[in-house]
Symmetry: C2
């Protein structure tokens, strides 16, 4: 009997609050319509991992998948190492702040849990995927894996070392709003850990001015959450612009992409970096909101990039199939 | 058949975060070992209310109790008005920021729910008691009734107009710490609503300096939560002092009681106002922490007040008896 389990998980964007979340402010995340699909099937020749992750990040992804196996097997005392083939088919560009790593962890853990134990428990998937993320990234906030697991909009705040707030906001994007867009500026030179360390150092130096940046960022995050709920476009654009300004103040918006953001703002829209951002060159994906798609397309084209539509508040981790053959 | 239901609920203190909580910062509340006891029994002559609440606040308490009846009856379509005798026996001094009003609402709602419906559901008690509080107080945060309902330590933050964080922290006061104390400075001239309005006006004027006050208050609240969990006395005293300073900055610590607080600090302890505080004269109760009870007693005596021990993280709303006779 060959058994195959297929599980998918979405990528994520930070609508606002990345970096600030490390310093006690809230983050608003959203699952997006880019998914990673993981299948687990019985193998005749030990643990095998296949993935379509692009070359530069393949080794890292393979390690993530191997760690997912280890964490699940440890949790359920599965020994010796299982003989399974794990295939990862990702539609989330890696290393560009769209949560590819969290999505791979969540989908792999979800598929393994169902493969070995016929358990479908998003709470447990999230907990174990966070374990995997910690091994990989040191001190992740836990926001990414929560967004990939639960889907929708996630309100996240680290209150205390031992207390994190994670709420799924019970709404979608209001129908008054037009679509959001993604713009790929390429893979940043710096990884998120380096950017977090950079901001920490910078915030220490800024002292009270750093605290005021955090305060403004928090207000922007709250306003984005409110604007998306009630379809208040003027507030949304204003809040993204204010939030982006604070990210610039934190030093995570590379000068190379500032002109793109400024052109979108000048036209009457708003755009922001995502996640770690970038210091010098590319910043990964940029999130943009602007009602006139044609005009936005022209601006983006002028800067040498492509425009991609994106749907927010997508479904979280999902069991695609778990049949016995 | 005469049926009698008896329910009790604790009062509360703000360990830190009062006032700041109105502006987005967190509050740390604790249920205390002062309780209100409410009994509901069948009556032959319509709705009757008895209470031992002191004269000046009796009318207000009676209204609170009548509103509790109305809210519960409305929720369960109980009509006509029930013929019950409600007796309130309060061990929580009223009008002094110990949560007397929330405790009365919670215990009365709890007793009525059990009397009419044999339902014991703290979640529902909290929701309905919050309705009662809103009728009485306009825009309460919901922190007080949560502390009186759930007991223990409550971490409370209003994130958005439609999102409140309420966590019960899963620990008691660490055994390394000595007891906390209460000092009754008398009933403040101003009520909490007036004090909240005062701070709001003040914060608007302060602009960035107000935001920094909030930031410091938030840090103090977090440090108190951490210190109480791990029994870090030095951090606890330092955090209460820092938090009290921010409350002074907000204008809610009456000059009349500042010398008391300063004397406790000079001796090596810490003390703070509670809840609304007060602008001119008395501030209601003051919360103090100091290891040497004798010395603290002398300081308090010198200022003409009495020292009372208080136990934190007490049990929340409790069904004392619900027997049929």
């Amino acid at each position: 009997m060959t058994q195959t389990v297929i599980v998918s998980a979405p990528g994520k964007v930070h609508l606002m609050g990345e970096h600030a979340v490390v310093h006690g402010a809230p983050a608003l995340l959203s699952a997006i319509n880019r998914r990673v699909i993981v299948s687990v099937t019985t193998s005749q020749s030990g643990l095998k991992i296949q993935s379509n992750i692009e070359h530069a990040l393949k080794k890292q992804a393979d390690k993530l998948i191997a760690e997912s196996v280890r964490v699940v097997c440890e949790r359920f005392h599965i020994s010796p190492a299982p003989s399974v083939l794990i295939s990862v088919n990702s539609g989330i560009p890696a290393g560009r702040h769209l949560g590819s790593s969290a999505a791979v962890s969540v989908a792999t853990v979800g598929a393994l849990l169902y493969f070995f134990k016929k358990i479908w428990n998003p709470e447990l998937i999230n907990t174990l995927a966070f374990e995997v993320e910690k091994i990989q990234h040191g001190t992740p906030s836990g926001g990414d894996n929560s967004a990939c697991t639960y889907g929708g909009f996630i309100w996240f705040r680290k209150e205390l070392d031992f207390l994190k707030t994670i709420w799924q906001l019970p709404y979608l994007v209001h129908k008054n709003l037009s679509p959001f867009y993604l713009i790929d500026t390429g893979q940043p030179e710096e990884n998120t850990g380096e950017m977090v360390a950079l901001v920490r150092k910078f915030m220490d130096e800024l002292e009270d001015n750093g605290r005021l940046l955090l305060f403004q960022n928090e207000q922007a995050t709250k306003d984005v959450a409110t604007a998306v709920k009630y379809g208040n476009e003027a507030l949304l654009i204003d809040a993204i612009k204010r939030g982006e300004k604070t990210l610039e103040g934190m030093g995570v918006v590379s000068p190379a992409i500032l002109p793109l953001i400024q052109d979108i703002e000048k036209a009457g829209g708003a755009a922001k970096i995502l996640g770690g951002g970038g210091k010098r060159g590319a910043v990964g994906y940029v999130l943009a909101y602007y009602r006139d798609k044609k005009k936005l397309h022209d601006i983006v084209k002028k800067h040498g990039y492509e425009l991609e539509s994106v749907v927010l508040a997508e479904e979280g981790v999902r069991l695609e199939s778990g049949r016995n053959k």
